[in-house]
Symmetry: C2
């Protein structure tokens, strides 16, 4: 993809999604600006890129910084999000920071007529009413995380309807891959295999998730910011194939040739079956075949073995 | 209705909706606490009640004040809302204040196991996709006001799903009546008639709204906080009957015996047909016959003639 004429602001550019995206955008020839306050993002994620991009080390909660960061930008990818909310904190300040940050960015995007790519989450759906979950599924988030992401979608579209903002919403499934800041289950199991620890399953193991490799996310974002047909739409971004937690554990054991045992643990378990339909995004964004779980886990495993200290910092 | 055993916190208790509600709740025997920062609410709205209720003069943005205000409370009616958002301000602080305030209240309500009545708005619907608009209508707010109200609904229900909060959401139509802080069209026309000014219609005059008298709102809130069947549900609160702006002007002229002319003006007009279905609330909340527009306008007119300086303060 050729993005040579584009200037793209990536919020949360030091994070898992953000730093991978910066790499992809730079390779496509785009001019890249990052804003990150490095509360969960890491400068080390940007190693090798810092001389090729413009880094604004600050918070999107600050209107002046956002104004500065937005100057000359034609596209915003808003990937920043307070990790505290993700971790189920009920701190009011985390909620207001997410809201203020988004809103500051939206106002600048309206002013600059930028395309605004909002990174939402499948957490907006809550309990599955049917499977696979498409974009028309009821929006009944269980977690505050999902409610905040959903609020953001409404802010984007209200600004589209009232102020002509061009926006695309991407509801991303559970993304995994190298440099994953949040230790979700694929990473947890790979780490356990690496360290010879048991792979612990909470609940029945039959709960399922549509784990999606980082490369599929990157392809989707690049397509979303480059296709006029995407504007004004909401897309699920997922591999399209769900796996049960038990099968995931087995696959990790196979890929890593680990002899670690799989144990079933008592404790709070989220037994949802989250099978995320990707038909609309594949069709409109013209995405190719998603990365298989085998390939994705293998690539993440290779990276993890070469970076065993990433999670010990 | 007997509310003798109840202790009810009304946020925005100095406002139009809030102050009327306090009066009704006190008459029903409830113990009433108010929190208001009086940016748009008025202490004078509480005249005659101040010795019968507990007033917390402060902002819901302050967690300590909210904790204090929530002590001993079994029911919260959250009617406070930044007037700035209503007036289409794009101030980030207004959005974050609304978010922080709601969230502070929700956390306390969870802690105290209070019933939480969230005053939402029909602005969550946006452009009508069909009429009359029931609670299943698509949620596509045009105004930021509607998006913020809708976000609040999602926060309430996420706290219900994840933390067991008992919540009821009331999506109120355009309410009018004595002490209306916001000069909406019924009040504007009555004021014009009072002052012998032309009644100005922007747009075709065929746009319609479901104006609803304050008493219907009060009945609905009292029912919502007293009926277990209401918990977890969303209700439109409306008179159920829409009127065109032109017909409204004619009715005001008739009721006030005004000889003021009706003029058609150029300018931004909101031509939506907002006919708000009230079937669900009438059924579940067992509301009686709504107040007719004739009765409601007459009562507001009587009040306005006795309080001609209310809008000149």
């Amino acid at each position: 993809m050729d993005l040579q004429s584009r200037t793209i602001l990536v919020t949360g550019g030091g994070g898992f999604l953000g730093s991978h995206l910066c790499e992809t955008l730079l390779e496509s020839g785009a001019r890249v600006k990052i804003i990150d306050n490095f509360t969960s993002g890491r400068a080390s994620n940007l190693a090798g890129m810092l001389n090729r991009l413009e880094l604004i080390d600050g918070s999107i909660v600050d209107e002046c910084i956002v104004e500065e960061a937005s100057r000359g930008v034609d596209t915003v990818v808003h990937a920043a999000f307070p990790m505290a909310i993700r971790q189920r904190s009920l701190e009011t300040s985390a909620i207001t920071d997410a809201t203020a940050g988004l809103f500051n960015l939206l106002k600048e995007a309206v002013k600059n007529r930028s395309i605004f790519i909002y990174i939402s989450s499948i957490a907006v759906y809550g309990e599955q009413k049917y499977n696979p979950i498409d974009e028309k599924h009821p929006l009944e988030p269980v977690l505050l995380y999902g409610a905040v992401k959903l609020s953001g979608e409404h802010f984007c579209f209200a600004m589209a309807r009232s102020h002509g903002l061009k926006t695309v919403v991407l509801r991303v499934a559970d993304i995994y891959g190298p440099k994953n800041t949040r230790i979700n289950l694929p990473v947890q199991f790979l780490l356990d295999a690496l360290n010879g620890r048991p792979l612990k399953i909470f609940g029945s193991g039959r709960q399922s998730r549509t784990y999606t490799y980082i490369d599929d996310y990157l392809k989707a974002v690049c397509a979303a910011l480059n296709k006029p047909a995407a504007v004004g739409q909401v897309f699920n971004i997922s591999s399209g194939k769900a796996v049960s937690v038990y099968d995931l554990a087995m696959l990790v054991k196979e890929i890593t040739s680990s002899k670690a045992v799989v144990t079933f643990e008592k404790g709070e378990a989220d037994e949802r079956q989250l099978i995320i339909n990707n038909s609309l995004s594949r069709q409109v964004l013209k995405l190719g075949q998603p990365v298989s779980l085998e390939e994705g886990l293998s690539a993440t495993w290779d990276w993890l073995r070469n970076n065993p200290h990433f999670y010990k910092i």
